[in-house]
């Protein structure tokens, strides 16, 4: 697979803080790659290194076959970016700003721009001063999505959008993927990531702790089981070396998680207490992320 972004061992320090601590990331051509992590994990810093706004202290970074710092201008013609916190020029209208950003990018698609303005229901004639956070976000999104780009770098682009606009945004990204555009999407909206992303990287304290497709990520996790029994159970954990987590017992109802692939063994034990009802579901994406967000860091 062609790599549009390949980062290995990226380090960026601010004084004594290590914002990025050996980060590895690969984004393939034509994929939407989810970039997830708690606040302050290093997502924005990574994007800024990729844009050549920050210089890497160590590590190898290749972007569209070029060096993000030395080839910045040449590369920026081929990518578009939406910052996490969009500030605009108060004196200009939204339409003027979209055109300005298009000119700065160099390859705007005016037909697509007009279509996007209509789809996002943006009033381009208003001064940016009067825009809400969501409308400022739309201005940056329209400018980025209207550019003829091979790569989109999006830093939490839907914060501030209403659900309808979020839906429209997802459709736009899906269309762009169909055209072959690679997208790196930093996000906290797990539903959005689950719906859109082909692959996901979870970053924590400046390092990618997990990377792969959602199916790969679900592998080696757990299944959540809720069971109703005839008699209250005794001692579920520990039996047969089985790891059972978060057991809650309310009378004859029991809830717990069991590692993937070993549900059968637990069921055998449960039948001994007279199994009446059972629901089992795989780990949700949310649980998956929360596990990484909450886990204490091992030095």
């Amino acid at each position: 697979m062609d790599s549009v972004i390949s980062v290995s061992g990226l380090v960026k320090t601010y004084g004594r803080t290590r914002a990025l601590d050996g980060l590895d990331l690969r984004v393939g051509a034509g994929e939407i790659h989810g970039f997830l992590g708690p606040n302050g994990a290093g997502k924005t810093t990574t994007l800024r290194v990729l844009l050549g706004l920050l210089r890497a202290d160590a590590g190898e970074v290749r972007l569209l076959g070029g060096h993000p710092w030395h080839d910045a201008v040449r590369l920026h013609r081929r990518l578009a970016y939406v910052p996490g916190d969009v500030t605009l020029w108060d004196e200009l209208t939204g339409g003027q700003i979209i055109d300005l950003l298009g000119r700065l990018h160099g390859r705007p698609d005016t037909r697509r721009r007009d279509e996007l303005i209509a789809r996002f229901e943006l009033d381009p004639g208003k001064k940016a001063r009067t825009y809400s956070k969501g409308n400022r976000q739309k201005v940056a999104l329209v400018a980025a999505l209207a550019a003829r780009a091979e790569l989109l770098l999006l830093d939490e682009p839907t914060s501030g959008l209403d659900p309808l606009m979020e839906e429209e945004f997802r459709r736009c990204l899906a269309e762009r993927r169909a055209e072959g555009t690679a997208i790196l999407l930093s996000s906290h909206v797990l539903a959005e990531v689950e719906a859109l992303c082909d692959r996901v990287s979870i970053v924590r304290r400046g390092r990618v702790v997990e990377s792969g497709t959602l199916t790969e990520l679900r592998h080696l996790t757990w299944t959540s089981i809720t069971a109703r029994l005839e008699r209250p159970p005794e001692r579920l954990d520990g039996a047969h070396g089985l790891e059972v987590h978060g057991t809650e017992v309310h009378g004859t109802e029991v809830r717990f998680r069991v590692e993937s692939g070993r549900a059968g063994e637990v069921l055998t034990r449960l039948t001994a207490y007279g199994l009446l009802d059972l629901t089992a579901r795989p780990a949700t994406l949310e649980e998956l992320f929360l596990r990484h967000y909450r886990e204490p860091v091992t030095p």
């Binding site: 062609d2 549009v4 051509a29 034509g30 800024r48 844009l51 050549g52 706004l53 920050l54 210089r55 569209l64 076959g65 080839d71 910045a72 201008v73 040449r74 920026h76 013609r77 081929r78 578009a80 970016y81 910052p83 916190d85 969009v86 500030t87 605009l88 020029w89 004196e91 200009l92 003027q96 300005l100 950003l101 000119r103 700065l104 990018h105 160099g106 390859r107 001063r129 009067t130 940056a140 091979e150 770098l153 055209e179 072959g180 555009t181």
Partner: protein, 523 residues
């Protein structure tokens, strides 16, 4: 889409990675954003020597008047040190001499602040990130702002040539040299601003540094020996001798070369540094408990500024007071020096009072008012927190000016009675400072978007009235109705005018407060 196909496109041409890529687009952005500001800048810079040409010609129509004036000026070491010798006896030589440092100060300050506004301030606001993500060269923003400043300064030269050369009939060569000296110096100060913006981590820090350099470049005519002054910006117009015998055109190369060097240094720093960083970092403040009241909040936010201005004014005043006790040269006595400087300090305090009165507007327009007003804090309490500080600060600063000048004078001259006299004289200006602040507050309550231009327009107009009074264009009674009138050293104030301005200030503050209570909050 394969990356190879795109690589073959024109995008990869040799110049496509140029460091100044898209500088033109950014220059157009700057022009579009600030076209009114730039127009005002050009008008003021052209009007300044034109005003001097008009008023000096009215004062001294014939050669004997001018000879007497030049003799007095050259006998006055104070004027002599600031402006140097007059290069000739013609009216145009006199006008060029009088306008040179003023032009440098106005053009330099405007260029410096403008350069920081379009570089570091853009970066602070987060818009540089948006721009730099485009196909924009690393030197594009700096190149654009330097080009715009140079173009504005050239427009000023053209305007001066038209107004002075064609309008007043001054010789074209001298007019061009006079204009170019100011333009080259102003461009050099803009380049200082560009470099300060790259070195300092925030726009306020860069502004303070830049203004420091400007003051250091223009003021030390007073302390630097005559032969060294030529190397400082203040000395360039003296060496150039516009309209005088033996005009020196080569002087123009000094500011232009300096501007080029400073710009290249800024390029070098900007091409190496990360977004949002600088060699001179912002200091992190100490951790203190949260303020408990609106006045406490206002003090926490702006108290530091107020204290440092008060101390600076006090120290500067003490210095002036000390010097004035033993100052007696030509026609300029120590008492005159003391009066003039006390008045100048009072005008500085008036400007600071306006800045203070506009703070609620800054807070509100940046969206910091609504979260507080959504709590049990009422509008009146929120506004009064800022107003108490905003109105107490000028009084404290005037006290510092009075105590400083008085104590300096008393210590050096052994005249302790100077202390209460000076304190009284300075504090007498308080109603005037409150009145200009009151205009800002009333405008803020009634038409918040107009508050900043209205407030500063009142300050500028009042200052113009001072100039017109000094030039003899404005009558004494009319002058007393302007805020800076009654405290002027040439006027013995009485108490009617200060009392009137105190009443006016109270009325304006009341109107502003009531209107603020009634109107919609800004978005």
């Amino acid at each position: 889409m394969s990356t190879g196909a795109v690589n073959a496109g024109p995008v990869n041409a040799g110049h496509a990675n140029a460091a100044t890529m898209n500088a033109g687009t950014i220059a157009l952005l700057i022009l579009r954003r600030d076209r009114l500001l730039l127009a005002a800048w050009i008008v003021v810079a052209v009007a300044l020597p034109a005003f001097n040409a008009y008023s000096l010609a009215a004062l001294m129509p014939a050669e004997p008047h001018r000879l007497a004036f030049i003799a007095a000026a050259e006998a006055n070491p104070f004027t002599n040190a600031l402006l140097g010798p007059v290069p000739g006896t013609s009216i145009e030589a006199l006008v060029g001499w009088r306008s040179s440092v003023q032009s440098l100060l106005i053009g330099g300050l405007a260029g410096l602040l403008f350069a920081i506004r379009h570089t570091r301030a853009e970066e602070d606001a987060g818009r540089r990130e948006l721009v730099a993500a485009g196909a924009v060269g690393r030197h594009a923003a700096i190149s654009a702002v330097v080009a715009v400043v140079a173009a504005v300064n050239l427009a000023v030269v053209v305007g001066q040539c038209l107004v002075l050369g064609l309008g007043f009939g001054y010789p074209p060569g001298g007019t061009l040299l006079f204009g170019l000296t100011g333009a080259a110096g102003a461009t050099m100060f803009a380049a200082c601003g560009v470099l300060a913006a790259q070195l300092c981590q925030s726009a306020p820090l860069a502004r303070a540094t830049g203004v420091g350099v400007l003051v250091a470049g223009l003021v030390p005519g007073l302390v630097v020996p005559e032969e060294l002054v030529a190397y400082l910006p203040a000395g360039w117009p003296r060496v150039a001798r516009a309209y005088g015998a033996g005009e020196q055109w080569w002087v123009l190369w000094i500011p232009l070369a300096l501007a080029a060097v400073l710009t290249l240094l800024a390029f070098a720093v900007s091409a190496r540094r990360d977004l949002g960083t600088g060699l001179l970092p912002e200091r992190a403040g100490p951790v203190r408990p949260a303020p408990r009241s609106t006045i406490g909040l206002a003090w926490r936010l702006y108290g530091g500024q107020v204290v440092s201005w008060t101390i600076s004014l006090g120290v500067a005043s003490a210095g002036v007071g000390w010097v004035s006790a033993s100052f007696e040269v030509g026609t300029l006595t120590g008492d005159t020096l003391l009066e003039v400087f006390t008045y100048v300090f009072c005008l500085v305090v008036a400007c600071l009072a306006v800045t203070g009165a506009l703070r609620p507007y800054g807070e509100e327009s940046r969206g910091r008012a609504s979260p507080l007003l959504a709590t049990s804090t009422g509008r009146t309490r929120w506004l009064s927190g800022h107003l108490v500080l905003g109105l107490a600060a000028p009084a404290a600063m005037l006290l510092a000016v009075g105590a400083g000048t008085g104590a300096g004078h008393a210590l050096a001259g052994g005249r302790p009675e100077a202390v209460p006299v000076q304190i009284g004289a300075a504090l007498l200006f308080t109603p005037a400072a409150w009145a200009v602040a009151g205009v800002a507050i009333a405008a803020y309550g009634l038409r918040p978007r107009a508050a900043v231009p209205v407030a500063w327009a009142v300050v500028v107009l009042s200052a113009v009235c001072v100039a017109m009074w000094e030039a003899g264009v404005l009558g004494g009674t009319a002058f007393l109705f302007t805020p800076f009138g009654y405290a002027h050293p040439s006027i013995s104030p009485g108490f009617a005018a200060p009392a009137g301005f105190a009443l006016a200030a109270a009325a304006l503050v009341t109107v502003g407060g009531a209107a603020f209570h009634r109107r919609d909050l800004l978005a």
